[in-house]
């Protein structure tokens, strides 16, 4: 089979920076004029600004016609491989499933788009009803009792979990005593970083021979200083820890709480539940498992679920329903407080609600099963690719994703996984995810095909890996000098990390590199 995208070439507009464009006097849009009666009555408005607070020089923004601005950004969009453009199985751990267009249409309704968060709750009944209904749905999916959708991302959802653990121990007078959180090396970096931000010392368990930590490692880490356990399962590897309930039991026995980061839940919907496993709380990424678009890194939502014992700690406000109307309850004395302004990314929750409603219980289970089926199908195909291996041989089947290794290929050819991640863009596919830190798997790459693709698409995707492997063995220069057909060429030795050269803005670049 000829691999997908063999005739592909990205748009390569060599588009100038917007700050280099435009001419004097061009206008992209005109703000509403101040009406004469107002203008004449307030001609002194600016005089009231204290002299030193009055802007002296106009901001050096570009002056462009409207169609110039439009074309520029459309061209930039054409040089971006979103999942609407190309099957994105490359972004393992990110769950790049199809984001249904109808759900986008729903959140563009003025009733959603142009609502103010501080409107009287009586005028936000629709939004509050969706939040309330979706809280019940997520409760059923996870087994948890109460949900909050305030967190704006998975990381923030995990942070909320860490704050709840802190609040729980403080409420029992053990806040200062229990100062350690346990996580695992293959859990998302946020499972280590956010408890650290919340003030905890973090202990990271390393994987055993089967790819996940052994019980003895956990036992050695537990003590009367243990505040909790925070981890994903499956971890980044796609391997499910079958002793997870025993992990939870032991942490409980030591007096800690257990938080299930469900970032990798796409293979688990309707299959197994956080609460049934004994977890006290969890978080789901609505922009991953629940199909809301990833939006070039956000508008996300970390949906946080807790048992009823912990509900009093959830961020305020929470949505309430008295059987008649919906309201927002801000009076939560034990709440961890706020982590994100207002109600969070409400539009993301509405999309997730619509997605679940399009599927129902049977559909959600079909999502999970198909994600696991597709992943194992792709893994089967890739296991035949020269130079590819699966770490932890002899371990169980992976569920929804796999962290593979190009170790053998790199040894044989000198071509690295980073080279291949650039090369894959020549086939019209997104750079693949290599690994989160720590990079325990040599020359890693992490793929997650989700439920969204046909067998033909999976075959074509695997064929690209077959082809890239052949290139690495037969014509490595083709790979190491890649990309050749992407929107931009390879840059050796980039200046991004050199304080003398880096430039986070055009004005910094002008000053540092152009001396203007």
């Amino acid at each position: 089979m000829s691999p997908q995208g063999s005739g592909y070439h990205a748009a390569r507009w060599n588009e100038p920076l917007i700050t280099e464009m435009g001419g004097d006097g061009q206008r992209g849009i005109l703000p509403p004029e101040v009406e004469e009666k107002i203008a004449s009555a307030t001609s002194d408005a600016l005089d009231a600004i204290p002299a030193h607070m009055r802007r002296k020089t106009s901001p050096a923004l570009p002056e462009l016609s409207q169609s110039q601005v439009l074309r520029h950004f459309v061209r930039l969009s054409q040089m971006t491989l979103g999942a609407d453009v190309t099957p994105d199985m490359s972004s393992g751990t990110c769950t790049m499933k199809y984001s249904p267009k109808v759900n986008d249409a729903l959140v563009r309704l003025p009733a959603v788009a142009d609502a103010h968060p501080l409107q009287d709750a009586l005028t936000l009944q629709g939004t509050l009803e969706v939040l309330h209904r979706f809280g019940k749905i997520m409760g059923e999916i996870s087994g948890m009792d109460e949900f909050s959708f305030q967190a704006g991302s998975g990381a923030q959802g995990i942070y909320v979990n860490a704050c709840i653990i802190r609040a729980y121990h403080e409420s029992r007078g053990e806040g200062g005593l229990r100062d350690e959180i346990i996580t695992t090396a293959f859990s998302h970096p946020s499972d280590a970083a956010t408890p650290s931000v919340a003030g905890y010392k973090v202990i990271t368990l390393m994987p055993g021979p089967k790819g996940y930590p052994e019980l003895d490692a956990l036992k050695a880490a537990l003590s009367d200083r243990t505040a909790g356990l925070m981890l994903t399962n499956p971890e980044d590897t796609g391997l499910f820890n079958p002793e997870i309930d025993e992990f939870v039991r032991l942490v409980h026995e030591a007096g800690g709480l257990c938080a299930y980061d469900q970032a990798n839940a796409n293979g688990l919907l309707g299959i197994t539940r956080a609460a049934d496993t004994g977890f006290d709380m969890c978080q789901f990424n609505l922009h991953k498992t629940f199909s809301a678009p990833h939006s070039a890194i956000g508008q996300g939502c970390g949906a946080v679920g807790v048992t009823k014992e912990l509900a009093r700690f959830l961020p305020a406000p929470v949505v309430t329903f008295d059987g008649d109307s919906y309201d927002l309850d801000y009076g939560r004395p034990d709440s961890i407080g706020k982590v994100r302004s207002f109600l969070g990314n409400v539009q993301t929750v509405i999309r997730a609600y619509a997605w679940v409603m399009s599927l129902g219980a049977e559909g959600l289970r079909m999502v999970a099963e198909t994600a696991v089926l597709n992943n194992n199908y792709l893994a089967e195909k890739l296991s035949g690719v020269r130079g590819v291996s699966l770490p932890f041989p002899g371990s169980d089947r992976r569920l929804e994703q796999v962290r593979y290794s190009w170790e053998q290929l790199a040894k044989d050819t000198g071509v690295s996984t980073t080279d291949l991640s650039r090369r894959i863009t020549d086939y019209g596919l997104a750079n693949f995810m290599e690994s989160h830190a720590p990079r325990l798997v040599p020359e890693p790459f992490t793929l997650e095909p989700t439920e969204s693709y046909t067998l033909e698409e999976l075959d074509e995707y695997a064929a690209v890996f077959e082809e890239m492997s052949r290139e690495a063995y037969e014509a490595p220069e083709m790979v190491t000098s890649a990309p050749h057909k992407a929107a931009t060429a390879k840059r050796d030795d980039p200046p991004f990390n050199d304080p003398k050269q880096w430039a986070m803005t055009w004005r910094a670049h002008r000053r540092k590199n152009l001396n203007t």
């Binding site: 917007i18 009406e35 107002i38 408890p195 099963e369 089967e380 004005r507």
Partner: protein
Amino acid sequence: MSSMTHPYIPNSAPEARRKALEAIGVDDIEDLYAAIPERLRLRKDLDLPDAIRSEQGLRRHVERILSSNRGTRDYLSFLGGGCWEHYVPAVCDEINSRGEFLTAYGGQNYSDHGKYQALFEFQSLMGELVGMDVVSAPTYDWAGAAASALLMACRVTGRSKALVPEAISAEKLAQIRNFARPAATIETVRYDRDTGALDLDDLRSKVDSQTAAVYFENPSYLGFIEGGGAAISEIAHEAGAMSIVGVDPSSLGVLSPPSEYGADIVCGEIQPLGMHMQAGGGLGGFIASRDDEQLVAEYPTYLVSLGAPEEGGGWGFGVSTFERTSYEKRESSPDYYGTTQWLWGITAAVYLSLMGPRGMEELGEGLMQRSLYTMRQLDSIDGVKCPVFASASVKEFVVNFDDTGKTVQEINAALLDRGIFGGKDLTKELPELGQSALYCVTEVHTKDDLHTLADSVREVLS
């Protein structure tokens, strides 16, 4: 489901499943789940509402629920307080609706060159507005940016106390307190009851050798221009602390960039720059500073850097010093980054490109004129005092109803009956202001709108 292929799940088709299982070499999907012990399996169907299979039916279902919302297209709104009704240019919606951006995520520069260029342009245009050389990729919101900026200052100075105005949004203060708790103590500084400005004597008495930063806002939460910016920064600097200024960028066509009155770090909210409010879902924050290696090392966010042009033209972009971030630092990370609000960063770049320097100047001046006009209209009503503070306002201002014999709650309820969202009730947040509300007027309001407000308030109070 078994009898029907779901449009979102191509391999729900029985034939495809059979083929896939055969290729894998197992008989049943259950075999793929062998790793999950039976005791952890859910052996019943989830109890969820029935699926609505057709797109048309789904749309009707959700639209029906949402139809009980009444938004700012239905009601005349004077709500602000951290989320503001500004005009959203059609080109902003067009660009952020494009699937290429909407469904992109973590792809690097080679697949997502355009995404990185748009983000670099966001940083560059914001840099021009606030007068700083380093601008972050978007954060979750202004409050989050402020909290991160305060802790950046703590790490740079090696100190652990931060001062913030007493009169900032209670929600924002709650967010800052939650975030800063393990690392810093947050103390509030009083404000001058006449001008609203930060009380410099109180500030002087609280700044000490443990103070990492003094944070203030311009325009302030209560809408007025904080005229003491330079003096506040000086007091902070004299004590070896940093000056952190939070801004609403919609004011920066007419107000000085904070870099000109001593700010070391700037943060703020980008929602006014082309984002629909979305009940707060339109929010996004940013952090900015001068190009100082020590400060850059403390940014928690991605920072997109420009690379040299390659031969034959074209710019390159990459994430600078990725090892700063929580993705690399894990348990040694003092802050965290994640899926933030990049689509709104791209949108803000579009907005600022459309507006240009003239547009931002006209916007700022127009906001001030409409506010002033509205304040005068309201102040002419018996018992209504407006403005409460003797300082110029940009787009928000406090209206006091103490002498009307009615509470803000009563007034807002009566205004709601007339199709008006009155200003944010401040009585719980700042009880010392009595029966006061925070009103917001922007470029979306016409003279007729403003007269409707004044007439309605008069009617409600009569």
